[in-house]
Symmetry: C2
Subunit: 452 residues, 2 copies
């Protein structure tokens, strides 16, 4: 019983087994652990013990380990194994994990590893790799149980007994006709409750929800989330059953998609985590920053157009960052609401109109509130009624425009099938900077001209 | 067979059944649909048909419907049902969903509905409501199968037959001792593969991963995601099994947590979706905006301190928005990397040092790149070498400081157990505004003084 031992004690035991050459004890211990924990242990195992550790594992344990570690560690492990062992381990691995692993390899390695697989498996893996990234085809596994429609419940139970060990989920059994087309689904619960002699056709659920191999992974996640499924079947054009996607893969998708949204909204660059090298991280972030730098220059040139106005009332400069900043902030707020809203909801024309009108309302309310507030502050601080008026009117206008820009720009992108999150926070902020400065100086200039 | 009918046709059929008074046909049709689809249909059903629709549903169908619609619709439905029916429907509902529903009610309604429940159920629901929000206790359900440790596999199968219908998941069967303490877990697969006469104790898995009733929901999601579980058991202090949390609830948690991060990062206000009224949305967004307005005034007062410098070289104002904006952008980028990184990774001292040094490196690289670039632009645009130098040096310094601020501020918050995402993008942007203006005008003033 390893129930109450801590991770550290386990690690110490493992190192002792390795030193004493107790292969069987190590294997038994690992069988009591979850694959995720074995992955963590491998990562924290000192380098000098790793090779022996790998040679002590069973093929199944190696396959589990490979599925839990990152791409870099996977390659390190594979290179330490004999070619024969690699072939055996790959045969055991889930096809979707295997396809992802092979995609990380160089072309030469790829061919070497694929040739190590048995033919049938190689075809399956090759097929998965042929689907575009982030589609259902890439996520699916072929380890599921399918049932011919003419089976009885008794036949199903018998088939299940022999497939239970390799299937990724046995919660749903998918029923197919002679052309392998998906025509029904049977839950494991239904099976328990049904009579042994009943025909599958009579107990199955006809209205099967499925996704197409080319469905975007975000939509797959939506289906699983809405219906609370543990798995969803994947079909090809002619409704032929191709595989299933399980909920654990979908959780990873949901996390990945949320991260991508945040990356884009903050223009923080693709795939930067705590382990990314400084040079790589800077390289990934710079393109956005340089683009924004040039847009910033543009706003500078707008101000330079109003040099005369600015020269007359230098105090106008005091409120510049505040006005530009506030417009950016309100735009970012609207943007975030739209981007996250689009994930859980599909939009029709009516909904779009309603949303834009709502945001217009929001813009009006915050525009009036903040406009009045800043007028009073500017008046009391600078003792200048005209300045207070110019700043207040400008903020009122820019907040409304900022709110609408933060709403409409992502909606337009969405309409043209561009991910609305690419209208990142910084981009909206910078665009709103320009709008706000133009309005601010135009109002100020008009006012000065009128007064003089 | 309703397999090939579209949602619209189903709706038309339903309305026809309602008009013709065909109660049984309606029930049969709905039994072929998923609860989520029934929810969608109810929302799109014209108001005049809704009351009759509800009276036609079975108790089970009503319970399913209630679990699929939003809080507002739930109340509408409950108010249309007789008191008796409400009691019966509530008995069928999952306890976690029921607790969430009751929490939405006013105090008087709450007592009324709780009194409608049978005593045992009322206690369970009351217990769930006593746990703090966003903890495991709130998410768990008591619809799971537990097995006394002395059972044989045969006993388990027999018990399962009678519980399969009400259990939320039968993938894992949790094994408890006489004190109801969780001591093992049995997967359904193991059960199929085991011999009928084997004892549960001998086939169960000893090292059960569980979460505590007070565990934060984000950590629950982490456990399920790491281990690829379909459910995780929840225990009380003394390791007594209290309930289970299923993966479908965890997906909702992951989405909710990601939305919360985005809300906070963009300071876009809590719980604003497409249906929120303009007034409510404005009210939720205004606090941040007003805070940021005052911080903006602060940056204005900084500029006013340098009025003399600005008066001498008005061209300094041209680069103000660019410098402030760029510093905000780089800070937001760092912030996003830190906030999302903290979700998937726990940090120790070593990792924090490494991260800060990495971001310092990033700041240096982008500082040099952008600093040189802007110096050249400023020089060629304004034909002023000194101005180019001042702008370049300032941008170099502010980008480094912006990057570090975007990294260190969320880390400090995290250290003091404050959610790092509250250091929202706009807040970091505004703080960076102040830093950048101080640096910019200090460099400019020092330079002017040196030259004169």
């Amino acid at each position: 019983m390893v129930r109450d031992i801590t991770q550290d004690q386990i690690l110490i035991n493992i190192i002792r087994y390795l030193k004493d050459g107790k292969k069987k004890d190590l294997q038994d211990l690992l069988d009591e652990l979850h694959p995720y924990d074995v992955g963590v242990i491998f990562e924290s195992l000192p380098e000098k013990h790793r090779t022996r550790f790998l040679t002590y594992l069973t093929h199944q344990q190696l396959a589990n380990l490979l599925q839990e570690v990152g791409a870099e560690t996977q390659l390190v492990i594979l290179k330490k194994l004999s070619k024969e062992k690699v072939a055996k381990v790959m045969d055991i691995m889930d096809n979707d994990d295997l396809a992802n692993l092979i995609l990380e390899l160089s072309k030469a390695e790829k061919e070497e590893f694929l040739s190590a697989l048995n033919d049938e498996e190689a075809v399956v893996v090759q097929n998965i790799m042929n689907y575009p990234e982030e589609t259902a085809g890439r996520l699916m596994t072929n380890r599921f149980v399918w049932i011919p429609v003419h089976y009885t419940v008794r036949d199903v139970v018998a088939k299940l007994r022999s497939y239970a060990e390799i299937a990724e989920t046995i919660n749903y059994l998918y029923v197919i006709d002679e052309q392998k087309r998906l025509i029904g689904v049977l839950s494991y619960r239904d099976l328990i409750l049904a009579h042994k002699d009943e025909k599958v056709e009579d107990v199955m659920f006809n209205r099967v929800i499925s996704v197409h191999v080319l469905t975007d992974q975000e939509n797959v996640a939506q289906v699983i989330e809405r219906y609370d499924f543990l798995a969803v079947p994947v079909v090809e054009d002619d409704h032929v059953l191709a595989g299933i996607i399980t909920v654990d893969d979908v959780i990873d998708v949901v996390i990945q998609e949320a991260n991508e949204d945040i990356e884009k909204l903050s223009a923080s660059g693709k795939d930067i985590d705590f382990d990314t090298k400084a040079f790589v991280a800077a390289y990934r972030r710079l393109p956005w920053l340089i683009l924004l730098l040039f847009i910033g220059i543009l706003s500078g040139s707008i101000i330079s157009q109003f040099e005369e106005t600015l020269d007359k009332v230098v105090a106008l400069a005091f409120f510049m960052p505040m006005i530009a900043g506030m417009t950016g902030n309100t735009g970012t707020q609207s943007l975030a609401v739209v981007v996250r809203g689009l994930i859980t909801r599909d939009l029709d024309k009516k909904a779009v109109t309603k949303l834009i009108l709502r945001e217009l309302g929001v813009g009006l309310i915050i525009g009036i509130t903040c406009g009045v507030l800043i007028s009073l502050i500017a008046f009391f601080w600078q003792g200048n009624l005209e300045l207070g008026f110019v700043v207040g009117i400008s903020l009122f206008c820019t907040l409304i425009i900022g709110t609408i820009a933060g709403t409409v720009i992502p909606l337009i992108l969405y309409r043209f099938n561009v991910d609305p999150a690419v209208a990142s926070g910084p981009l909206i902020t910078t665009i709103n900077d320009i709008f706000s400065l133009l309005i601010y100086f135009s109002v100020a200039t008009a006012f000065l001209t009128a007064l003089m």
